[in-house]
């Protein structure tokens, strides 16, 4: 169980980095906090969607490889 927990603990950093990076990036483009937060949330959604797609493709490939070989 401990091994499982420690193998997942790196992923805790993903949402933290996602939020911080998007806030700073958006704040470097706007001065108005409404626009900053709006842009940051959109950025987060794009990144999660893109990484989700990559995850789905890799998961699918892993499944195919496991079934075929």
């Amino acid at each position: 169980m401990l091994a499982v927990v420690s193998s997942w603990d790196v992923y805790i950093h993903f949402p933290i980095l996602l939020v911080l990076v998007n806030i700073v990036y958006s704040a470097s483009r706007y001065d108005n906090w409404g626009e900053i937060l709006n842009h940051a949330v959109r950025g987060m959604v794009y990144i999660v969607f893109f990484l989700g797609m990559v995850f789905a493709v890799l998961f699918g490939l892993a499944w195919v490889v496991q079934k075929v070989f």
Binding site: D9, L17, L20, I23, V24, Y25, D31, W33
Partner: protein, 218 residues
């Protein structure tokens, strides 16, 4: 629908001074611009930049036990080894027939540092210790591996190997493992964000405005 284009409108005040300030302390330029230009949004933004960027850097640096911000004298060792082996480039960094200078090779070898550098003051002692090993600053935190001090009895190779062994021991700790990489990623991302902050201090916010439509255009 008009095609939006990006322009910089209303350049911020004190742009060069602010960029320099944000180079040393991320967000300081925006804080000064906020006070000078009476812009609360820009002032708060500067504080947010400072807290996030130095927070990320400090977190990654401290969690790695202050061992991931450095510039090693590795290229010097590689050049020496290649020279000893007959002169043909083998270990030293370079492109094609060109061999990099020691500094360039060391930057390639430790490619995290050129990104960490933009965090500002907290990353700079590593560069100082690289160039001035005899008068180091905060050496326990920013030691330059392979730096040959006056009177150093160990070889450069031994110094580099000792540092590598220490880093490997640290990575083998049950609490570290793959997190070792996550922690330097924090410091590198903080540095890259620092670049954006410097640019924002100089250029101000980017605004999307519609392109003027030319007469007769379809």
């Amino acid at each position: 629908m008009s095609n939006p284009s990006v322009i910089h409108s209303n350049p911020p005040p004190l742009r060069w001074q602010a960029a320099l300030m944000s180079f040393a302390v991320p967000g300081l330029g925006q804080i000064v611009q906020g006070i000078y230009g009476k812009s609360k949004g820009r002032l708060i933004k500067g504080i947010v930049f400072l807290v996030i960027i130095w927070g990320m850097f400090g977190y990654g640096f401290a969690k790695a036990e202050f061992k991931n911000v450095y510039l090693a004298h590795a290229q010097e060792q590689f050049l020496e080894e290649d020279k000893f082996a007959g002169g043909k480039r083998n270990r030293a960094f370079g492109i094609g027939g060109m061999t990099f200078s020691p500094l360039m090779g060391d930057l390639v070898n430790r490619c995290q540092y050129p990104a960490q550098f933009w965090v500002g003051i907290p990353a700079w002692p590593a560069l100082w210790n690289y160039f001035f090993a005899d008068t180091p600053i905060l050496e326990n935190y920013y030691q330059s591996p392979g730096a040959m001090k006056k009177g150093e009895v160990k070889s450069r190779q031994t110094l580099l190997e000792e540092r590598e062994a220490a880093d490997n021991t640290l990575q083998l700790k049950p609490t570290m493992g793959r997190l070792w990489d996550i922690y330097w990623i924090y410091t590198v991302i903080a540095g890259v964000l620092g670049l954006l902050v410097i640019y924002d201090a100089w250029a101000g916010p980017v605004k999307m405005v519609p392109k003027p439509v030319k007469k007769g255009a379809k």
